[in-house]
Every structure is written in structure tokens, then in C-alpha cells.
Amino acid sequence: MTPLRRRGAALAAVLSAALVITACGSDGDDTGDATVKARSVKADNGTIEVPAEPQRVATIGNTTLPFIDLGGKPIGLTAESDSNVKLLPEDQQATYAAATILAPSADEVDMEKLASLKPDLILAQIPDAEFELIEKRLEAIAPTVFFGLDTEWKALAGGLAEAGNLTDRFSQQKAEFEGKVTKIQETYREIIDETSFVDVIRWASSDPGTFAIADIGCSEIARDDVGMDFPKAPAGADPLAWTSLPFEQISSLSKYDAITYPVDAKGQPTEPFAPVVETNTWKALPAVNSGRALGVFCPGNNSYGSVVRYLDSLASVLATLPAKK
């Protein structure tokens, strides 16, 4: 070996040792307790090793509100719309406000900020394509549990509870939900069997002069879990809610026995929907004239807590539904 090569080999050995020492030091700084217990959870990105009792959870995309609803307290989260946050109970609003906002939307997560929070678990529900772009960077920061958008809300709640060690609260909420569904089915069996319903919606982003028939969202729960007769898109077709209908089609709602529409917590039509109830066409609908247009409060449809509040509102309006003439 020439002197030059010897010097090169010695330099490489010193650098390697320095890298090993640096890596060891870095591990110790990031994880804190090297003996932390771990569990395995199944998610759409495989079987993930997560801390048995995660203490510092970051939520991305649609996991934020269901995780908070389960009693979780994320240290970092991607922002939810103001209108969604306002619908949360006060204690959950406080939890949301205490967390660090990682990004205005789920597709722009600030990785540096996320890493600085030193999370021990990351929960994410975003489009698959978006997750693929950030998967490795998230996993380099903390164990990451990912659910695709096609994960149904109940499965999502169960998965989040499992990963976040919140299964006790999850079991309570699930039992409460099932009890409410059963009670509505028993109390309003005749109405459920004999009444055709339609749920209508209008969002803040809806085009002027348009509304939609909501076959996704809260009324999906009334249809699929309670068994009420709400319209549904044919298999394989896009949801009805994705088609904006011009106001002149409000008259087509005449064929339904009863209509449900969105109201706020005080029972007033939501701000985006208010233009619909002000139209002459709405006022001329048989269901509206006979008191069979029911304002229902839907605080969310992707966690048991918010769905239970929806079921409470649904039960209260079904109690006021006049008999069919």
C-alpha cells in the first residue's frame, strides 16, 4: 500500500467511525427511551411497529378530527377548515387549537416542522398518490400508519384507536352508536319502512344557483345503518352529490315524501344552503308545505362522536314528522 493509499484508508476509517458515533448519538436524541415497548398494527401501508403507548402523535389529512374525537391529543396536525372546527365540541376545539399546524392542507406538510415536533407516531389519511410522494420522509421521522381514502369511516376510527392506544374510548363510542341506531329503528320503524326521503345539500364552494342530492355524508349513515330510504347512485357510478343541479331542479324533489336539509347547531339552515330555502320553488314543494322538510344537524360523518350527534338530531326531527296524507 502506498503512503497516499494508507492516508486515504486511515481517513476513511476516521470518517466511518465519526459517522457511526454521530448516528448513535442521533438515535439516542430522537427516541429518548430506547427500551420503549412496541405493538404491531395493520394499515394500508402494511404492518407497522408503533409504540405501545404513543405520546406524541401527529395527524395528517382526514385522521385529525376522528383522532381528536377518540380523545387523542395530537401535537401536530394539518389544518381543517374553520367551518369544520367550529362544529367540534368545545373541548375538542381546545385540543385542536393546542396543536401545531403542520400545513394549510394535507398535501403540503412541512416536514421540517413535523420532524422538530419529534412525534413517536404519525397517522395519515390522504390520497394514495400523495402518500407515495411523502411516505419515505414520514417514515424517516416516525412510524407512520396510513389509511387510503377508500377506508370506511368505522374502519378508520378502529384503526386510529388501535394505533393511538385509544381502544377503550372507541369501544364506548361504538356501543353508543349502535344503541342509537337500534333505538331509532325501533321507535320509527313505520316511518323508516314507508317513507321515501331525499337529502339535499349545498356547500360554500357550490356554484351559484346550484344544489346537490346528498347520497354521501350523514344521510349515507341514515340509509346504510338505520335503513331509511334515501336515494343512492347506481353501483359503479359517481355519487349523486358530485353533480351540481340547477335550482330549477328543486321541483324534482316533489316525488319524495320527505326532505332532509342541513342546519346548524341552532336549527337554522346552514349559510350555504340558505339560498335554497329562500326560493319560491322550495317553498312550493309538497314536502315543505306539509312540514315534511326536516332540518338535520350533521357535525361530521367520519367519527363516532360526530355521527352520534347526527343521529340525535335525526331522531329529534323524525319525532316531529307529520303523518303522510
Binding site: S81, P104, S105, A204, S205, D207, P208, G209, T210, T243, S244, L245, P246, F247, E248, Q249, I250, S251, S252, S254, E271, P275, T279, N280, T281, A284, L285
Partner: protein, 347 residues
């Protein structure tokens, strides 16, 4: 029938109909427009029998179908009429003023000003309904056009070329600012989707009445400057020799076109193709006489808007396509076909 042979830019000639034939064409265009107005009320995303349409207009009752006619279709037809008139005439004015067949009101920053103002209203001030942000659009269009007029005026007077360059520059700056605002405020972006596409759906008559006086004033101004613009088409020196006051004519034309384009944009959002295409067609029919071009544009442009809107209502029933999208689909092939069949129209 008298015809006039005019030498064009190219080697060929174009025959231009005489006054009687022009008038006859104008009557035909008027009849077509009236028919389209009727069809606009008759045809929609729901099937309503003609008898119900007739009753809704002449034997009013509380029937639910009648509300659909009176509250949505009739206002929509009127909105289409006003927007079309304003877009067509403003397009004719800007092409005459700049002597540029590719010019439309957007080239002076009208759309950029309106869009920026609406973005500020929606994104920063929380304005959400058409009645609220239409005034921002109108004010934005007017302010930016006046700014472009000021930037485009040199010591030697106002130059169409400098004005167009100023309009493109101001439009680019405002476009960038608008994009930045929308990217940092997704709610604003969502709320503006429909407006950006250009739509006359869901606009009540309440958005038309306040704009109507401005459109009326602009109509008068347009015909006042029609003669001077004819002279200016021969060149500034010849126009001055004929007694035309160039600066006054340009200012009046810009005021008129900004009122028209600003009003139309405020109501319906930026519908870009109508103001570009219709004056071309008018010019092919009547030749380079601004008064006739203006008259034809006033009738043909609302026809294009209405036919596009009717198509947009029926092609994806029960949903709809915004008129701004359909005008491009309908208008572009027609314009290309005309360009291929006829020689470029002179200005």
C-alpha cells in the same frame, strides 16, 4: 342590390353588401336572437311543457314549474342577453381601437382587474354571493382600464400599441397576485371556480339592473365614436385631416368598452371568446364600417351566448356546463371554419 368591392390585406377582394342587404341581415340576426331567447326559456335541465312556460309568462300562478320559469329561466335569458350585448360590443370597440383583429377586452386588463378584485373580495373580505362581489369585479375592471389608459398615454398622446402593452403588463402582474392569493386561500379558490369559468347560471335579475345603466351609457358612447373610429382605421394622419380628435375618441371608446366588459365580467365572470369572435363575424358580413359592425355584434354576441348556454344545460343533464366553457367549444371551430373559408377581415 349595390355591392362594394374592397381591397383587403391579402391579394384577394371581398364583396361587401349594400345598406339594404345589411339591414336585412340585421333583421335576420334580430329574429334569430328572439328565437334563441324563447328557446332559452323553453329548454332547460328539466322538462317543462310549453303550455306551462306559456302560463308562467302570461297566466301566473303558484305552480312549481312556473316558478322554475319565472325565477330561473327568464332571468337567465335576460342575463345572457345583457352579457352578450356587452361582450360583443366591447370586443368590436377594442378591435377597432387597437386595429388588432386578435384583441379582446381582456387585452386591456379588464378581466385581470375584475378577477383580482373578486379574489380580494372573496379571499380577504369573505364576500360569498354574486350580488356582493359583482361590484368588486366592476370596480376592478374600471380601475385597471383607467390605469392602463394612463400608462398608455405618452406626451405624444395615447397610443394603441403602448396601451396594449400596458394592459398585458398590468394583467400579468394582477394575474400573479391573484394566483398567490388563491393558493394561500383554498376557500377563495373554491368559491371562485364557477365565476372564473364564466357562467350566467344562478344570477338573479338583481345583478343585472344595477349594471344596465352603465351598459346603456356605453352603447351611446360606442355609436358616438363609430364614425371617428372609421376614419382612424385609415390612419391617424388621415383621421386628423378629417377633423377627428384622436385622444377624445380613444378615451370615449375605452370608457365605453371598459363599462361594457366590466359590467359583463361583473355579472358572469370572464367569458373571453365572445368579444374576440363575434366582431370578426360581423366584419365579414358588413365590411369595415364600425356602426354596422357594432349593430351586428350587439345582436350576434347574445345569440352565441344563449345558444352556448342552452347547449350547456342539456349535454350533461341533469348537470350543466358553464357558458364560458361552451362558447369556446362552439365558437372556436366556427371561427376556424370561417377563417379557412374567407379572407381575413380588414379593420
Amino acid at each position: 342590390m349595390t355591392t362594394l368591392a374592397l381591397r383587403q390585406d391579402g391579394p384577394g377582394t371581398v364583396t361587401v353588401p349594400g345598406p339594404r342587404r345589411r339591414l336585412l341581415g340585421l333583421v335576420v340576426a334580430l329574429v334569430v336572437l328572439v328565437v334563441l331567447l324563447v328557446l332559452s326559456v323553453m329548454i332547460g335541465s328539466t322538462s317543462i311543457p310549453p303550455s306551462a312556460v306559456w302560463d308562467a309568462l302570461f297566466h301566473s300562478s303558484a305552480d312549481i314549474d312556473q316558478f322554475a320559469i319565472r325565477d330561473y329561466r327568464l332571468p337567465r335569458a335576460i342575463v345572457g342577453l345583457v352579457v352578450g350585448v356587452a361582450l360583443g360590443l366591447s370586443g368590436a370597440l377594442i378591435q377597432a381601437l387597437t386595429r388588432n383583429p386578435l384583441a379582446d377586452p381582456g387585452i386591456l386588463g379588464v378581466h385581470a382587474g375584475a378577477s383580482f378584485a373578486v379574489t380580494v373580495a372573496v379571499g380577504l373580505l369573505g364576500v360569498r354571493d354574486v350580488q356582493g362581489y359583482m361590484w368588486f369585479a366592476f370596480a376592478g375592471a374600471l380601475v385597471v382600464t383607467l390605469m392602463v389608459l394612463a400608462l398608455g398615454s405618452t406626451r405624444q398622446g395615447s397610443s394603441p400599441v403602448v396601451m396594449v402593452l400596458a394592459g398585458v403588463c398590468v394583467g400579468a402582474v394582477l394575474g400573479g397576485a391573484r394566483e398567490a392569493l388563491q393558493l394561500t386561500n383554498p376557500d377563495a379558490f373554491d368559491a371562485m371556480r364557477s365565476w372564473n369559468a364564466g357562467s350566467i347560471a344562478g344570477r338573479p335579475l338583481e345583478v343585472v339592473w344595477p349594471i344596465l345603466p352603465f351598459v346603456a351609457v356605453a352603447l351611446v358612447l360606442a355609436f358616438v365614436v363609430a364614425g371617428p373610429l372609421n376614419a382612424m382605421a385609415l390612419g391617424d394622419e388621415l383621421a386628423v385631416a378629417q377633423g377627428v380628435r384622436l385622444a377624445r375618441t380613444r378615451v370615449l371608446a375605452i370608457v365605453a368598452l371598459s363599462l361594457l366588459a366590466g359590467g359583463a365580467t361583473a355579472i358572469a365572470g370572464p367569458i373571453v371568446f365572445v368579444g374576440l369572435m363575434v366582431p370578426h363575424v360581423a366584419r365579414w358580413i358588413v365590411g369595415p364600417h364600425q356602426g354596422w359592425i357594432f349593430a351586428y355584434s350587439i345582436l350576434l354576441a347574445p345569440s352565441l351566448v344563449l345558444v352556448s348556454d342552452i347547449l350547456g344545460r342539456v349535454v350533461i343533464r341533469p348537470g350543466e356546463i358553464p357558458v364560458g366553457v361552451v362558447t369556446a367549444f362552439v365558437g372556436a371551430p366556427v371561427l376556424i371554419a370561417l377563417v379557412r373559408r374567407r379572407k381575413a377581415s380588414g379593420l
